[in-house]
C-alpha cells in the first residue's frame, strides 16, 4: 500500500500538532512537511511533493486561498483541503474558486477531517452538505460573493501585494519578500489603488479587511 503524504499549513503550532496527531494515527498516512505561512506552504509543496495539502485560510505573508492557487499551479497533482473558522457562503465560494477540492470548518469533527483527507487522497472532492447546497444554489444563478469583484480586478501578484501591505509592510519590505525591485513594488501598489479606486494606505487596509484578504 502506498503511503499517503500530507503537508500541513497553519500558523498556530498547537493546531499543527493536533492535525499531525490526527493524520498520523491513520495507518498509511504520514505528515511529510509542515508550514507556518502560505508562502512557506507553496515552497514546501514544491520540495516535498505531497499527495494532500491541509491548509488554513488565515495565515501571514500569503493567505491560504492565494497559496492554494499557487500550489495548484506549481503542484497540480496535489489535492488541497482548506480548513477555516469562517463559516460563510462567501468563504465557501472563495475556497472553491481557489482550486481547493475540500473544505472543512475548524469546528467540524476530527471524523470530517479524516473523511476529507481520505476522499482527496483518492482525488475525489469533499465538501460538507451545507457547502454543496450553497454551490448548487450559486450554479443556479445566485452568485453573491463580494470577494469576486476583487478576484476579477486584481492580478495574482497584486492580491499578494495587497495582503502584504495590509499586514503593515512597506513597499521596500514587500519588495524583499517577493524578490522584486522597490520601484516595481511601488508600481503594483499604485495600480492596486487605481483599480480599486482607493486613495490611501488606510483605505487599502480597510478594503483588505472587508474582503477578508487579512484578518481584522
Amino acid at each position: 500500500m502506498n503511503t499517503l503524504r500530507v503537508l500541513i499549513a497553519d500558523d498556530h503550532d498547537v493546531v499543527r500538532k493536533g492535525l499531525k496527531m490526527l493524520i498520523e494515527e491513520h495507518p498509511g498516512w504520514e505528515v511529510c512537511a509542515e508550514a507556518r505561512s502560505g508562502r512557506e506552504a507553496v515552497a514546501k509543496c514544491t520540495q516535498s511533493n505531497p499527495d494532500v495539502v491541509v491548509i488554513d485560510v488565515s495565515m501571514p505573508d500569503l493567505n491560504g486561498l492565494e497559496a492554494t492557487k499557487q500550489i495548484r499551479k506549481a503542484c497540480p497533482r496535489a489535492e488541497v483541503l482548506v480548513i477555516t473558522h469562517h463559516d460563510s457562503d462567501e468563504m465557501a465560494a472563495a475556497v472553491m474558486d481557489s482550486g481547493a477540492r475540500g473544505y472543512v470548518l475548524k469546528s467540524d469533527s476530527d471524523v470530517d477531517l479524516v473523511r476529507a483527507v481520505e476522499a482527496l487522497g483518492h482525488h475525489k472532492p469533499f465538501f460538507t452538505s451545507r457547502v454543496t447546497e450553497m454551490f448548487l444554489a450559486n450554479r443556479g444563478g445566485r452568485v453573491s460573493d463580494p470577494a469576486e469583484m476583487l478576484r476579477g480586478r486584481l492580478t495574482a501578484r497584486e492580491r499578494e501585494i495587497l495582503q502584504l501591505i495590509a499586514e503593515g509592510k512597506t513597499a521596500k519590505e514587500v519588495a524583499v519578500v517577493l524578490g522584486i525591485a522597490t520601484k516595481t513594488s511601488d508600481t503594483h501598489r499604485t495600480n492596486i489603488m487605481r483599480k480599486l479606486d482607493l486613495h490611501s494606505v488606510a483605505e487599502l487596509v480597510r478594503y483588505a479587511i472587508r474582503n477578508r484578504v487579512v484578518e481584522p
Partner: protein, 141 residues
Amino acid sequence: MASTRVLLSDDHSFMRRGLRTILEATDGYQVCGEAADGLETLNLASQLAPDILIMDISMPPPNGLEVAAKLRDSLPKTKILLITMHDSEEMLRAAAEAGASGYLLKSDAEELLLAALRRLEENRPFVSPAFSPDLARQLFE
C-alpha cells in the same frame, strides 16, 4: 503526587487535540474532559470541578469571557487560562475583569502552555509576553 486535572474548552477540535497531545506528553497533568462550546463547558466544569480550565474566548455562546464570569462564583478554586488569538489590550482587560487567571495567545501556546499552567498552579497569573508586563501586573495582580 496527584495530577492537575485540566478541562479543555475550544470549538476547534484540532486545537483541543493539539492541547491534549501536549498535556498527555507531560507528567503531572490529566485531561479530565473536553468541551466544544460555552454551555458544554459550564456543564462539564460543574460536574468535574477541574483544577484548571483552558478555554478559548470565541466560542458558540456563551463565550469564554461569559463562562469565566459565571465560574468565578460557582467554582472559585478552578483557575481559568484563556487561550485566544485576540491580542488587544481591550480583550486582555475584559479577561481580567471576568476573573481569568491567565491569558495565553494561541501563537504562544505550544511554547508557553506549560509555563502558563505552572504559574497558575502557583496561584500566580500568566499573561503572554506580547503585552507589557506593567499592564499585566496592573490587571491581574
